[in-house]
Symmetry: C2
Subunit: 677 residues, 2 copies
C-alpha cells in the first residue's frame, strides 16, 4: 500500500514526543490541579457566551423583558448544580470513562446507547464550530477592524487546531493548564472589580451600549400569556449553553490519579462551583452595567454604524467598562484569556472524538481500527473529518455564534437526559443486589439526584427542541439518525461476519500435502530468491511456472534457465490470449481438482518500491493475480518481497507521538515531563 | 483489490464474442477486400473535409484566389502518391506492424522513435476529435435544425465509440467493411453523375452557395508577393489533411493474409488510388459547381440568416446540387455514408491506440501491463483516456472541424517525415550488406522513393508549422514534448530497476531454516485454517503470535486456546501503546537479528470480502502489517485467505472478448465468423 505508507510518512516525520509505557502510566496521570483546567476549559469557556445568548433572546422584545434575566440565570445555575451532582454519581458508578454512552448502553441497551453516541459525535463538531466562532468574536471585539475577516479567522483557527492534533500535540502539561487558570482569574477579577466599582461609584459602571435603546423585532412588541412563556423558555434554553462540556470529566476518569472516581468527583464539583459563580457574576455585572447585545445590531437605537461595526461581546463590553476603556491593559488581558480558553475548549473536541471513536469501535459500531492505537492514519482521518465538518458549519453560518448555538445544545441535552435516566435504572439494579441498608440508603440518595437531573434535563431538551427547531436545530435532529443508522449497519456487518467464523472441525484438518508454485517471469534476483525461499519450505511438490505471452521472451527465459542450471524444472503455460492471470488460476484450480486435500502455495515475487507511482509500473500482474487467487479455497498466496533501492529508508514506522484522546484514556505522554504530584 | 475486481466485473459482464486461439489465427486473418475498408476508412474519410479546408483558406481573400485551388489539389494528389509509394517500401521492410515508430527507432534511435510515438499518440486523439466533428457536420448538413446541439452530438458519438470499444467490439467482419464501400461507391457516383450533369447541361451544376459572393477578411484584401505565397502554402497545408491515416496500413501488416507484405502493399496502392481519385473528383466538382465554404458564414454576401443557419459541408452541397436538392434520396445517402465512414475513422483510433501502447510497453516506454493482453482494465483506461481527451478538444473547440484541423496534421507529418528519413538510412545499411547488383538496384530505387517522400513531407511539415502555429498548432507542439519526456522517464525507471535485478550468487543461497509465524487475533476459522496450513508446510519452528492490546480480550483468547487444545504454543506480545504492527515487526526483526540466514514466513489470515466497502471494516491491520513487513529482507508474507459469504461469486474472471487493436496485431476474433477467403 504505497499511498498508505507514503501518507504514513507525513504524520511520522513531524511528530513530537513519545508515548509512555503503560507500566509507567502511574507517574504521569493527572493530579486534580492539572485535570481541572484540562477538562474544564470546555464547560468554563461557555461562560463566555451563555449570558450573551440570554440577552440576545430577551432583547428581541426590546428592553422590556430584561427583568427576566436574573431569574433565568438562577434557573441555569440550579440546573448546572443538579447536572454536576448527577455526574458525580456517574463517575463513581462508571469509572471506565465511557460516560453517558456507556451508561445508556448498559442500562437502556443499544438503541439508547447509539442515540447518545450520535448525539455526542454531532456535539463534538459543534463544540469546535461554536467555541472557535466565539473565540473569533472576542478577538474581533479587541480589534474591530478584523470584522470583515471573521469567517477566515475562524477557519484559520480550526485548521491550526487540526494541524496541531495531526502533529500529535499532548493535552497534558502546563501549556494546557495555563489558559484556563488565566481565564478563571481574569473573569474573577473582572467580576470583583466590576462589583466594587459599581458600589463605590454607585452605578458608575456603564457599558458602551448602555445608552442605546432597543427596537423590538416585529412580532415581539407586546408579548403575553403563552407567547411570553415560550419567549422566556427560549431565553432559558439559550442560557443552558452554560452547561455544555460538563460531561467532559465523566469521560476522562481514567486520566485521574487514584482514587480516580473520588478525584474526578471532586474536580467535577470544583468545576461546577467555579462555572456557576462565573456565570452568575458575569450575568449580574452585565445587567448592572446595562449591557445590550442584540441579534441584529441595527436594532440598537443610536448605534450609528451598525452596518459596518461589529457588536462587542458581553465579556468585552464588561472588560472595557470595568478596566477603563477598550485600550486598557485589563481589557486586552480578558479578551486574550477568553479567546484562548475558547480555542482550548475547541481542542478538547479533537481529543474527545477519537476517544469516543475507540469506545464505539470496541463495541463494533465503528471500524475496528479506530480501537487500536498508533495508527496515525486513522486518527488523522478522524481529525480531518471533525475539522472538515466544523469548517463547513462555520462557513455555512458565517461563524455567527448565535446561529450556531441553536444547533449546539440539542446533542448535549440528549446525552444528558438519556444518561441520567440510565443512572436511575442503574441504581434500581444495584439496589436489588444489595442488602446492606446503609448502602441502599446511599444508592437511593444517588438515584433521587439522578432522577432530578434526568427530569430537568429532559424538560430542557423538550424546551430546546420546541424553541430552537425552526432556528436550525432541525439540522441536528436530521443528522443524528443518519449516524445512528450508519453505526447500526456497521455493527450488523461485524456480527454477521463473526457468525461465519465460529470454529468447526473442518477448519482444522491438515492438508494432505503441499504443492508450491513459483511464478517466474525472468531469471533475475527476485525470481531466484523466490525459488530459494520456496525450496527452503521443502514442499512435497515444487513447480516453477511461467506463462508464455511472447514466444521470443519465453525462449530467452528457458535459455537462461539452462544457463543458471536451476534445479527446479520450468513449466511453461501457453497463453493464446496473451494473458497471465487466467492460465495461472486455471493451473491452480486443476491441482486442487486433482487432489482437493492438497494445499497450493503460490509464491509471487514482488517489487518493493519507494514511491507510489512506481507501483503503476510494477506489480500490476502480481496484484491482479493475488486478487484472483484469493477466491480459491485451499490456496495460499506468498509474497516474496524484493526491496528495490528506492524502497530503502521507506521502512515506515507506523507509530509516533501521542494520539488525540490518549490522555483522556489514561494513555499519557510525559516526554518534556511536567513534574506532576 | 476489491475496487479492481469490482471494476473488472463491468467489462466482463457486458462482453461479447470470444477471442480465437493463436493456432487458429490463420483462418481469420484479413483478405484484401476486408483489409481495405477496415484500414482505409481513416484515410478515405479525410476526403470529406480536405477540399473544404482548401476552400476555407482561399476564400479568406474573397473569391479572387480560387483559381489556385486546382493547382493545390494537384499538389496534394502528387504528395499523396509519393507518400503511398514510400509506405509500400515500409510494409516490405518492416512487416511487423511497428510502422513509423519502429522505423525511426531502428534507424535513428530512441530520440526519433519517441518523437514519432508522441506524435502518433497526439494524433490518435485528434483523429477522434476531427473525424467525429466532421461526421457531426455532415449529419447537421442533412438536418440543419440540429446545429445548436453540435457539441452535444459530437460528444455523444465519442461516448458511443468508447462504450462500444469498452464492450470489446471487433473491427473485422462485414459491419466494418460496409460503410467504407458505401462511401466509396457514393462519392464515385456523386462525382460521375455530377460531371455528366455539368457537361450535359453545360454548367447546369449549381451549388446553393454559388450565387453568394465573399467579402475578404481584413488583411487579405490584396495579397501579393511573399504574403500571397504564404497564403497559398497555408491553403496547401490545409489540403494535406487528405493524407491523414495513410500510415494505418503500415501499422496493420500482421492482420493481412500471407504474403502479408505483398497484400498490404497492394491494398495500400489501391487505397491511395481511390483516395486520390475521390479527392481530385470532389475538388473538381466543388469548383465546377462554384461551391463556397468560408471560415465565418457571414462573409458570404447574400447568406441572409448566416447567424442562425449552419453552412452545409462541401460534400453536402455537391450532393444536393447533383442529386436534385437537399430532400433527394441521393443527398441523404451521401450524407449518411459520409457521416458513417467518418465515425468509423474515429473508431480506428480506438484500435490503433492500444496497439501502439503495447508496442511502446514492449520497448519499456509505457507501463508493462499495456503489453500483455486480456487485462480489460488496462485497455479500458486507454479507451477512456483517448475518449476523454477527444471530448476535451471537441468541447474546447466547439466541435469546429476547421479549428481542430489546425492541430491535426502536425503529428501526421512529423511521423511521416521522420519515418521516411529512417527508411533512407535503412536502405543505406541494407545496401552495405548486399552484393547482388539486382538487389542493390531495387534498394536504390526504394531509397530514392523514400528520399523523395522524406523531402516532400519534411517541407510540408515546415509549411504546416509556419502557417498553422498561431492557429492552434502550438498546442500540439507543446504537448508532444510532454509525452516524450514522460515516456523517457518511464523507460529510465525500468532500466534502472532491471540493472538492480541482474542475478548474483547471494540471491540463490538457501536459507538455513524456516521460522513460521502465524498471526492470531481470535480463535476462529480463519486462524485455525492459517495454523493448519502453516503446520502443513512443516517449518523448523512454528510460533502462534498475538498482540495484547486489551488484557481482557487476550485472556479470552488464551482461554479459547486451551479449550480447543491447539497443538501450537501461543506467544503473546505486550503492546503498551495498543499497536499491532510495530510489535510484530520488531519480533520478526529480532528473529532475523538472531540468525540472519533464517527465513521468516509470516502467515496473515485475511478475509476475502465481496464489496469494496467491507475492506474498510476488515483487513486494515493486515494490510498495514504487510506494508511494513515487506521492507524486511528475508521475510515472506503469506496471506491465508478466508472467503466470507459475501465473496462468493465474486471470483472475477479477468478476461473476455477481443481488446481494441487485436485485429491489427493479427489477434483476431471470428465468433460469428465471416467466411473469409
Amino acid at each position: 500500500m504505497p499511498t498508505l505508507s507514503d501518507l504514513g510518512q507525513l504524520p511520522k516525520r513531524i511528530v513530537l514526543g513519545r508515548a509512555v509505557r503503560s507500566d509507567r502510566l502511574g507517574e504521569s496521570l493527572l493530579p486534580k490541579r492539572y485535570a481541572l483546567p484540562i477538562f474544564a476549559s470546555d464547560p468554563l469557556s461557555s461562560v463566555a457566551y451563555a449570558t450573551q445568548e440570554i440577552l440576545i433572546v430577551l432583547t428581541l422584545a426590546g428592553t422590556a423583558f430584561l427583568y427576566l434575566a436574573p431569574w433565568l440565570a438562577v434557573g441555569v445555575v440550579l440546573l448546572l448544580i443538579t447536572v454536576v451532582l448527577s455526574y458525580r454519581q456517574v463517575v463513581h458508578a462508571y469509572p471506565s470513562g465511557g460516560g453517558d454512552y456507556e451508561v445508556a448502553m448498559k442500562n437502556h441497551g443499544q438503541f439508547a446507547g447509539l442515540t447518545v453516541a450520535s448525539a455526542l459525535l454531532v456535539d463534538y463538531v459543534l463544540t469546535v464550530a461554536v467555541s472557535v466562532s466565539a473565540g473569533t468574536d472576542n478577538i474581533i471585539s479587541a480589534f474591530p477592524s478584523l470584522d470583515e475577516h471573521r469567517v477566515l479567522i475562524a477557519v484559520g483557527l480550526v485548521s491550526l487546531l487540526a494541524a496541531a492534533n495531526l502533529r500529535g500535540v499532548r493535552e497534558s502539561g502546563r501549556a494546557f493548564a495555563a489558559p484556563t487558570y488565566l481565564f478563571i482569574a481574569g473573569i474573577g477579577i473582572l467580576i470583583v472589580t466590576g462589583l466594587i466599582r459599581w458600589f463605590v461609584t454607585d452605578g458608575g459602571l456603564v457599558a458602551e451600549t448602555s445608552q442605546y435603546s432597543v427596537t423590538p423585532e416585529p412580532g415581539y412588541e407586546n408579548l403575553a400569556g403563552l407567547a411570553l412563556l415560550l419567549f422566556a423558555l427560549r431565553a432559558f434554553a439559550s442560557g443552558c449553553t452554560a452547561l455544555t462540556g460538563v460531561e467532559a470529566i465523566a469521560n476522562g476518569v481514567p486520566a485521574f490519579r487514584a482514587p480516580k472516581s473520588r478525584n474526578a468527583a471532586t474536580t467535577l464539583a470544583l468545576m461546577g462551583g467555579i462555572a456557576a459563580a462565573m456565570f452568575a457574576g458575569v450575568t449580574a455585572l452585565a445587567l448592572l452595567a446595562d449591557v445590550k447585545y442584540v441579534e441584529h445590531p441595527c436594532d440598537l437605537v443610536g448605534f450609528a454604524d451598525c452596518e459596518t461595526e461589529p457588536q462587542r461581546t458581553v465579556i468585552a463590553q464588561l472588560a472595557a467598562a470595568t478596566f477603563g476603556g477598550d485600550t486598557s491593559l485589563g481589557f486586552f488581558y480578558i479578551q486574550a484569556a477568553t479567546a484562548l480558553v475558547l480555542i482550548l475548549a475547541a481542542n478538547t473536541a479533537f481529543n474527545g472524538f477519537p476517544l469516543l471513536g475507540s469506545v464505539l469501535a470496541q463495541d463494533r459500531f465503528m471500524p475496528r481500527q479506530l480501537h487500536t492505537r498508533g495508527d496515525k492514519l486513522v486518527f488523522s482521518n478522524g481529525i480531518l473529518l471533525l475539522a472538515g465538518f466544523a469548517v463547513l458549519l462555520i462557513v455555512a453560518f458565517d461563524a455567527d455564534v448565535n446561529r450556531l448555538i441553536q444547533l449546539y445544545i440539542i446533542g448535549v441535552f440528549t446525552s444528558f437526559s438519556i444518561g441520567q435516566w440510565g443512572m436511575v435504572r442503574h441504581w434500581n439494579r444495584e439496589m436489588q443486589s444489595t442488602a446492606d441498608p446503609a448502602e441502599r440508603r446511599r444508592m437511593r440518595r444517588s438515584q433521587i439526584i439522578n432522577t432530578l437531573g434526568g427530569t430537568l434535563t429532559t424538560i430542557v431538551l423538550v424546551i430546546i427542541v420546541i424553541t430552537k427547531f425552526t432556528h436550525g436545530a432541525w439540522l441536528v435532529i436530521v443528522s443524528m439518525p443518519v449516524l445512528f443508522v450508519l453505526m447500526r449497519a456497521i455493527n450488523r456487518h461485524y456480527s454477521y461476519v463473526s457468525e461465519q467464523l465460529v470454529p468447526d472441525t473442518d477448519a482444522r484438518t491438515l492438508p494432505s500435502k503441499v504443492h508450491a508454485v513459483v511464478l517466474v517471469s525472468k531469471v533475475h534476483k527476485p525470481t531466484l530468491r523466490a525459488l530459494a525461499f520456496a525450496r527452503a519450505t521443502r514442499p512435497d511438490e515444487l513447480t516453477a511456472l511461467t506463462v508464455n505471452v511472447d514466444d521470443a521472451e519465453t525462449r530467452g527465459l528457458q535459455a537462461d534457465w539452462e544457463r543458471f542450471d536451476i534445479p527446479v524444472p520450468l513449466t511453461v503455460l501457453e497463453s493464446p490470449y496473451r494473458e497471465i492471470t487466467r492460465p495461472v488460476v486455471d493451473f491452480v484450480k486443476n491441482i486442487r481438482r486433482g487432489s482437493p486435500r492438497e494445499l497450493v502455495v503460490v509464491f509471487v515475487p514482488q517489487y518493493v518500491v519507494g514511491h507510489w507511482w512506481e507501483n503503476l509500473l510494477h506489480n500490476q500482474s502480481a496484484l491482479r493475480l493475488r486478487a484472483r487467487l484469493q477466491f480459491q479455497p485451499g490456496v495460499m498466496i506468498t509474497t516474496v518481497p524484493w526491496q528495490l533501492a528506492s524502497s530503502v529508508g521507506r521502512d515506515d514506522d507506523g507509530r509516533g507521538g501521542p494520539a488525540p484522546g490518549d490522555l483522556r484514556r489514561g494513555l499519557t505522554d510525559d516526554s518534556d515531563a511536567v513534574p506532576y504530584g
